[in-house]
Structure formats: C-alpha cells, structure tokens
C-alpha cells in the first residue's frame, strides 16, 4: 500500500514537470508524458519520497501555496535588504557566531523545509542538523542561549508550518 502511494505521488509530480516543460496540453504530448512518468516512477519512487501521496493532500498544497509561500518570499526580500545594508555600510556591521537551536518538527520533510527556510531568511544559515538540533551561523548574534535562539530563529516558521505539516 505504501509502495503504491509513493509510486503514484512520484508519477504525478513527474507529470506536472512534464506539462510545465512541454508547455502544451495536446493529447499526444500528454499520453507520452503519462507513459514516461509511470515508467520513471517505478524505478525512482523509493528514493524520491518517504511520505507518498500524503504530500499532495489538499490541505498541504493549499496552505503551502497561500500561506507559507508568500511568507517565505516576504522573508527573503527582507533578508536581501538586510544583506544589502551590511554589505554597503562602510563599517561592515557584523557580529557573527554559530548558535545551537532545537526544532519541534518530527518528520524529515518538515525539518528540511525549516532548515532551507532558515538559510533563505535574514542573517541565518544552517550549517548542520543532528536529530532535533540545528547548528546555525548567525550574522548578528543576539543570544547564545539555546531556548531563546530557538524562539527567535526557527520559531516563526514552525508556527507557520505546524498548522499543516506533522
């Protein structure tokens, strides 16, 4: 059962990529795309995903696109203005260090999303993830306490993600 769910999810994702790349919905293109994605999914499903079709549940897709994605883009724009300020400022106002934070997320997929989002947001950059601990290079260290740093860095994304992941 788990195998079929993984295979179906992989095939659907491959088909979406195929449609985006060919840029048409003509039936002969679609038939070729379906055939190719089914064959590829048979060989790659076990390395492509661990959770299967659950990832495409309407709740995850809709919340991801409407709620999480705009928030991430907004954070990225803020991050870039922050970087621009630090690069252009003649005194180079940086105060770097590596801090440790704890994440509340359980599944590997959610941890990956949190770690990637941290890398893209202001002044922080994930160096390593071990279990539920993350090591983060912070360009402007405000606290080296684990609890406080956990609230400040992954906390904002976790609040956002908790509602539809896990």
């Amino acid at each position: 059962m788990k195998g079929i769910s993984k295979w179906l999810y992989t095939a659907i994702v491959f088909l979406i990529v195929w449609v985006a790349l060919t840029g048409t919905l003509r039936w002969d293109e679609l038939v070729t795309g379906i055939a190719v994605s089914i064959i590829l999914a048979i060989f790659t499903a076990h390395i492509f995903t661990t959770e299967g079709i659950k990832n495409l549940s309407p709740k995850r897709v809709v919340c991801g696109i409407i709620y999480f994605f705009p928030y991430l883009i907004w954070q990225m724009i803020k991050a870039n203005l922050d970087v621009a300020y630090r690069v252009i400022h003649p005194k180079r106002p940086i105060n770097p260090g590596i801090v440790k934070v704890k994440t509340k997320m359980r599944s590997n997929l959610a941890k990956t999303i949190v770690a990637n989002s941290i890398t893209l947001t202001p002044g922080t950059f994930t160096l390593d993830v071990k279990g539920d601990e993350m090591f983060i290079h912070w360009i402007d260290v405000k606290t080296d306490d684990v609890e406080e740093a956990s609230k400040m860095i992954p906390g904002v994304f976790e609040k956002c993600l908790m509602k539809f992941m896990d």
Partner: protein
C-alpha cells in the same frame, strides 16, 4: 508593452541583487559570512531575473516558474553542504566571532 516594462524592472532588480552578492564576497571576512551574502542575494536575484524573462515572453512562463522552484529547493541545500564541508575540513571562523556551539559539539562527540 506593459509586460515588457514590468519584466525589465524585475531583471534590473535581479541584477542589482547579484551585484550586491558579488560585492559581499569581496567585503566579508570569512567563508561563512560570504556564504550568507551569496546564498540569499543570489537566490532572490536569480529568481527575479528569471521571472522577468518569463513576463517578457509569456509562452516561457511555465518553464521559468519550474526553474524558480528548482532554484528555491536546491540553492539552500548546496549552501548548507558547502558550509558544513568547510567547517569539517577545518576552515576557521573569523576571530571577531561571538560563539561557536558547533565546534563545542564536535569536540564532545570526539571525546565520547
């Protein structure tokens, strides 16, 4: 016409962020701070210029969105891999750094 102007504005914004990223590479003191500037600014810069191309040529828009999604997924992962590899091969932090919890953790792991 209006699409062309909007697309060009996006491309210029992307170019500015790319320029800031390269300036950051020159100005920052160590590998980790350089990774900070280059990852963030290059990700948004590349996304913005590719979106600009997509807006100028609407027929390419699906492909451009696909490229943007791939960049969004892969860029942070490669940055993380480079940073971790740099630390593990012994690249030192900038002397002005505040704290280094990762080094403490690695030492503990060695002794255990």
């Amino acid at each position: 016409m209006i699409g062309k102007v909007i697309g060009e504005i996006f491309m210029i914004i992307g170019g500015i962020f790319m320029f800031l990223a390269s300036l950051g590479l020159l100005r920052m003191p160590d590998v980790y701070n350089r990774m900070q500037t280059s990852t963030k600014a290059v990700t948004l810069g590349a996304m913005s210029s590719i979106l600009g191309v997509g807006i100028i040529h609407p027929a390419w828009l699906p492909k451009c969105l696909l490229i943007i999604i791939f960049i969004l997924f892969t860029n942070p992962v490669s940055a993380h891999a480079i940073g971790r590899a740099a630390y593990r091969t012994g690249v030192k932090l900038w002397p002005g750094s505040k704290c280094d919890k990762y080094g403490e953790y690695l030492k503990e792991e060695e002794n255990a």
